[in-house]
Symmetry: C2
Subunit: 344 residues, 2 copies
Amino acid sequence: MIHAPRDVRSEQVPDSALVQDTDAVVRVVASCVCGSDLWPYRGENPVKGPTRIGHEFVGIVEQVGAEVSTLAEGDFVVAPFVYSDGVCAHCRRGMHTSCVRGGGYGGEDRDGNLVDGGQGELVRVPLADGTLVATPDQPDQAMVPTLLALSDVMGTGHHAAVAAGVGPGSTVAVVGDGAVGLCGVLAADRLGAERVIAMSRHEPRQALARRFGAEEVVATRGEEGVAAVRELTDGMGADAVLECVGTGAAMQQAIGCARPGGRVGYVGVPHGVKLPIGDMFARNVGIAGGVAPVRAYLSELLDDVWSGRLDPGPVFDLELPLDQVAEGYAAMDERRAIKTLLRT
Amino acid sequence: MIHAPRDVRSEQVPDSALVQDTDAVVRVVASCVCGSDLWPYRGENPVKGPTRIGHEFVGIVEQVGAEVSTLAEGDFVVAPFVYSDGVCAHCRRGMHTSCVRGGGYGGEDRDGNLVDGGQGELVRVPLADGTLVATPDQPDQAMVPTLLALSDVMGTGHHAAVAAGVGPGSTVAVVGDGAVGLCGVLAADRLGAERVIAMSRHEPRQALARRFGAEEVVATRGEEGVAAVRELTDGMGADAVLECVGTGAAMQQAIGCARPGGRVGYVGVPHGVKLPIGDMFARNVGIAGGVAPVRAYLSELLDDVWSGRLDPGPVFDLELPLDQVAEGYAAMDERRAIKTLLRT
């Protein structure tokens, strides 16, 4: 529960139970703290009294409603960070985040029933068939972080890369060295980028970016960072830039790093972003992206994870039991950890 | 020459001559007035003393410099609205508007030599090989408007459609019923759009939009217009929206008309545009476009024009001799004409 800025607590709440016939109840195996959870934690988004929090988790199906047909008790499932029906016109076009019946964790569904937060022991998942994806078999413990990354950060980094138009031969710059930015590096590499330039000032994150496929690391930011990326690209700029932060400065940097005709894929929740339309127009720099429809990519990414071709697991560099959730937030807030995994 | 807002005059100036070996001098057969010429005409862009104006023309090559290899005296040529070398890294990627040696008409080139405006009798065209495209043969008089439209508006409407990702099966909305918007309708239809919705309040322009391939016309604008487009698309919004005006209201309308995951292709020179990043993020609406690299599309569009498959010529609904240029501007300013053609 988040009570107020910098006040996250592990508390006993009533156990989740099925409410709708399309629900599943999932016993959480692992959940995690998202960069976007830090906005209310830091008081930059309002906190309205004690609220359940968290939206990334994997676990085992404990119960399914009468109408759930694709899942069974005992399945190990990955939960995308929003729920969706999978059948509406938006879902059919891969825009599950705009599902007409969908919503988020830690609030109420459209019928006014509580939807649990992901940072907990049990979660009632609405629209389970359209939301949860079961793994082919039970994973071993070592694979849990890798699967958990599919719940948000890997799909979100992938969305940034897709939105930026990354493909074989692309030169890609990545702004942001958080878990999403690092997954963006991995996604760009996976999509065939010829060259990935990671922008990071933090040595351990630089190392992880290189491990994930970055050929170059630029440690400067702002105008200096833009100049460095242009220098690395013969004065051109990058074909595709992934903006994985959400601040105005990061977006400015991302647009500056794009070559004329290039595109920025952005997935950082915008806070104080003003787009420089004049520069974008003059240089034909486009932007696309937004809240990532992780569910649309889950099957494809899960295939690669299950076969061992893709492993975003290393973005988790701190693992804590769920009752130490407060320390998990503090470590990320103070940048002592890239991303905190909470074992239940 | 433009002397001040609402003061455009036909005047005698010294004849153009070759300056660089890469120049050509073109005798203008027809030029025209651009929507963007109206910004200084209306005083919304500053006018710094008497300046040559106009950047869209077709004509006959009168002289070529020693280094020009692809053009010969007597060729009928289409001039894109900026000049470009055709060989730099940006040109090679189809971004001729970002050419490292390129520039615009009616100012000075990078060596400080005057570049004529397009609304005149003779124009010195820098970097002629990289800029001008000759027609396969001499066109007849009836084809002159069609070819002249390739100089800017048809290529610009096409750029909006390409930037918005229009392809076979797309549902497309077009904001703006000027010459560019109407060419956007034509371009979307040519690219295989399943359905084109033109947004126009003016009956003659509505008729031309239908002739160019629009299945539907929405006569409302702003929030009402957005609601009408959503209603026509089962509440979804359009896959692709072409923004062909450049005002804040037009951009807002365009973004509102796009479905979640849709894209706005914009080519209107932005004036007072503030992008609603929060809405764009939440609904995954991207924007791309900018100043159109018309040269990149010229061969492809010219092929279609020459073979009779494409005719943007009807966007010209007023034809005047060059010395009546002032009336040509006034008619467009007062929306008595969609687009004025000036015969030399």
